[in-house]
């Protein structure tokens, strides 16, 4: 982070812009109307205000394929790159009629035949036809996903930086782990460290929790205080320069015997990493649990890392999707190993993995507890 609000580096922006325009062509889209923060950042290269949670749809950016122009919902030009001129910025409005007027004012909207949105609300589904009178409104998210799924070299650099901040913050919180501390304290320490490291925008705020000894994934009730023998899960996630860096580790508090459970995690992880190969179906990551003799976890086994989440999402609820998805060089994944033992607790470990030409590179290097 700098002392002023800056747009993303030119090389990063240009690489992403080219991918979007190519995939708009491949998906036969004349215009993309994007509401999701990550998509808006991808095409504009300009940082936006972070607020927690999902946002209702609004046209945050408009990409016109014929001219390559990007228009953006930005009421000021701080952090806006010079390839988006001021006349392509439009201000925040609460009024549906003003939305339509704004979109009508963008060159290319009147004649667009196919217009994609990354998601939509019923209200905007009714409004957009007024701005795009001859267009068919279609799902534009597949084009954005196709653009985002493989990372450019500059994106991998950005991911490494984000992961670095996540790992440093994790270490600060783990150093505070001792009987009697609260989950709140550990979470506060981690988020404070991330901000002090230059990143005040968390990817996740589910930071630290005592894993349950009674249930495979349910939360422990009580005072949220760490006790002897507890296995404490930490997930550290930041959004740095728009990119999500994530790492998760579980650390034991003295007084238990978690060695055998960590051993199970190690064996599972070896199989998961082995499944991260170019050309392999993403479903192999689900199979890895089976072959390790572990039940599938309550969270996705893997999801793409990038701006927001990127494809694929590999989860027990999406077996067919995972089987049809092939891993490719340049994909970055957050892969989760999760094992649980009644009376002991859970070991959660999440690593960032980059698919390479001949295998996979581990992007995370935070230490893992060993007996």
């Amino acid at each position: 982070m700098a002392t002023e609000v800056l747009p993303d580096d030119r090389a990063l922006r240009v690489g992403r812009r080219e991918r979007v325009l190519a995939h708009m062509e491949a998906h036969d889209l004349d215009v993309l109307v994007l509401g999701r923060m990550a998509n808006v950042r991808y095409v504009t290269g300009s940082p936006g205000l972070w607020t927690a949670g999902t946002h209702p749809f609004a046209p945050g950016a408009v990409v016109v394929r014929a001219t390559g122009a990007v228009h953006a919902l930005m009421t000021w030009d701080e952090g806006v790159p010079d390839d988006i001129p001021r006349e392509h910025l439009y201000g925040l409005t609460w009024n549906p009629i003003n939305w339509v007027t704004t979109l009508q004012g963008i060159e290319g909207t009147a004649t667009a035949r196919r217009v994609g949105t990354d998601t939509i609300s019923p209200t905007f589904a009714q409004l957009l036809p007024y701005a795009f009178p001859v267009a068919e409104l279609v799902d534009g998210e597949p084009a954005m996903r196709a653009a985002r799924r493989v990372k450019t070299a500059e994106e991998v650099v950005a991911l490494r930086e984000a992961i670095g901040v996540a790992e440093t913050s994790l270490a600060k919180a783990v150093a505070e782990l001792r009987p009697g501390v609260t989950e709140q304290h550990l979470s506060g320490v981690l988020l404070e460290a991330a901000a002090a490291g230059g990143v005040s925008t968390p990817a996740t705020q589910e930071v630290a929790w005592v894993t349950s000894r009674e249930h495979p994934w349910r939360k422990v009730n009580g005072d949220r205080r760490v006790g002897p023998g507890d296995l404490v899960a930490f997930t550290s996630g930041v959004v740095a320069g728009g990119y999500i860096g994530e790492v998760a580790r579980t650390w034991p508090v003295e007084g238990g015997d978690p060695g055998p459970l960590y051993e199970r995690w190690d064996q599972l992880w070896a199989r998961l990493l082995d499944a991260c190969r170019p050309g392999a179906p993403a479903g192999d990551l689900l199979t890895a649990y089976d072959s390790a003799g572990e039940p599938l976890p309550p969270m996705p086994v893997a999801r793409g890392l990038g701006l927001g989440f990127d494809p694929p999402v590999v989860a027990s609820g999406l077996p067919t999707t995972a089987a049809e998805e092939r891993l490719e060089p340049g994909m970055a994944l957050a892969v989760t190993g999760y094992v649980w033992q009644e009376g002991v607790g859970a070991v959660l470990g999440r690593q960032a993995v980059l698919i390479t030409e001949d295998g996979a590179e581990l992007l995370t290097s935070s230490p893992i507890w060993t007996p």
Partner: protein, 403 residues
């Protein structure tokens, strides 16, 4: 005069029941038989389950989804793993479902199969978001035709807060103020904006926040409008993002932070000066702000319209609007940091004339005043509307400008 009796500690079970009843009343009024909710705060409102919200991008990968059926007092929740899920599980076991992935065709197919058992054929459905996969599914997901916008149902239900909701908001505000008091006390030249953010989030968690809701704002105000950041409307920019910029003695900061407690947001805004007291011209800015916000509070009561408030503010400001063109004079607050009612937006005067305020609504008043060379003044005042007036939900100091 009756004043709303806000309990010291919210009763979350009672709150959930009351919210459910209001949601169903709004559904009945708008002719909606079932709601499909994807938005994080909408799900939280409908189910009573709150968790620390994360980045919006990551939130799409596996998000909680709620289904509300008109004649069922409990909502259905399709819940992914959330480490921080409220321990007080408010839903019956047969209303808790495994997660669904509505970004994917396979996920929507699975969801449609369950939905067919929950929602009667021919029901009128409203949804707050339609992913591409949901739109592609068409009739197999929405056999009764395209859904209407559930945001309209939520907005109506959320308008008037129950005493327990007010207790949640007041707790969120107290946590925020405790954290901000620590930051205000440490403010000194040479600190970086980002250091204030780091200290704030740490203190907010230590004092019991569920999550941070807004990347904290510590905007250094320009010497003049002309010297400020270019905007589409020519007025001031707000909020500008936090950086590693070092604060200098005399910098005027417009601060804005928000956290959540039990799913309810706080909103805090004050003007601070780094390392010195306000000069007379700066003090006069606060005086003007005080006049405006007092004029608004003088007309604020159940039965007043939003236009009554904007008129009072404009009159106290000598005829011009004392708020920024891209925002508003006031906004509501609840499970969202800014929600209906909005007062003074570009929805226009007619909208404001028709918006009648009612007892139990929460309003955050945020007029701004500006004179080149002073850094201006902006604070946020959180009020609940009463039959005969209002009650302030905070009593935080206006230091260094006033008490």
């Amino acid at each position: 005069m009756t004043v709303i009796d806000i309990p010291a500690v919210p009763d979350l079970t009672r709150m959930g029941r009351a919210r459910g009843a209001k949601l169903r009343a709004a559904m009945a009024q708008q002719g909606v038989d079932a709601l499909i909710l994807l938005g994080n705060t909408a799900v939280s409102y409908a189910t009573g389950v709150s968790w620390p919200l994360g980045d919006s991008g990551l939130a799409h990968a596996d998000r909680p989804v709620a289904v509300v059926v008109a004649d069922d007092p409990s909502a259905h929740l399709f819940m992914p793993f959330r480490a921080g899920t409220s321990a007080q599980e408010p839903l019956p076991a047969d209303h808790l479902h495994p997660p669904v992935y509505l970004e994917y065709d396979e996920g929507v197919r699975n969801f449609a199969a369950v939905l067919a058992d929950l929602v009667p054929a021919g029901a009128t459905v409203a949804a707050d978001e339609l992913t591409g996969a949901m739109r592609r599914a068409g009739k197999s997901l929405f056999p009764g035709g395209s859904p209407s916008d559930a945001a309209l149902v939520l907005a109506a239900a959320k308008l008037i807060k129950t005493p327990d909701e007010l207790a949640c908001i007041r707790t969120a505000l107290r946590i925020t103020e405790q954290a901000m008091a620590d930051i205000a006390g440490s403010l000194a030249p040479g600190m970086r904006q980002i250091d204030l953010s780091a200290g704030f989030v740490r203190q907010a968690y230590e004092h019991g926040a569920l999550a941070n809701v807004l990347d904290p704002i510590w905007q250094v105000m320009p010497a003049s409008r002309e010297a400020g950041v270019w905007t589409t409307h020519g007025d001031l920019a707000l909020p500008l993002l936090t950086t590693e910029r070092e604060l200098a003695k005399g910098d005027v900061l417009w601060t804005d932070v928000s956290i959540s407690y039990a799913g309810y947001c706080s909103d805090f805004g004050r003007t601070w000066i780094v390392g010195q007291d306000p000069a007379p011209r700066q003090q006069a800015q606060f005086g003007k702000w005080w006049e405006i916000h007092s004029a608004v509070k003088d007309v604020l009561r159940a039965g007043a319209t939003a236009a009554d408030l904007t008129r009072a503010a404009i009159a106290a400001n000598g005829g011009s609007k004392p708020w920024l063109p891209h925002f508003y004079l006031a906004h509501g607050m609840g499970t969202d940091p800014a929600e209906m009612p909005f007062v003074g937006t570009d929805l226009g005067e007619e909208f404001d004339e028709q918006l009648v305020l009612e007892a139990g609504m929460v309003l955050v008043l945020e007029p701004v005043v500006w004179e080149d060379g002073t850094g201006g003044y902006r604070s946020e005042e959180v009020l609940v509307i009463e039959e005969e007036g209002w009650t302030a939900l905070t009593d935080y100091t206006y230091a260094p400008y006033g008490d």
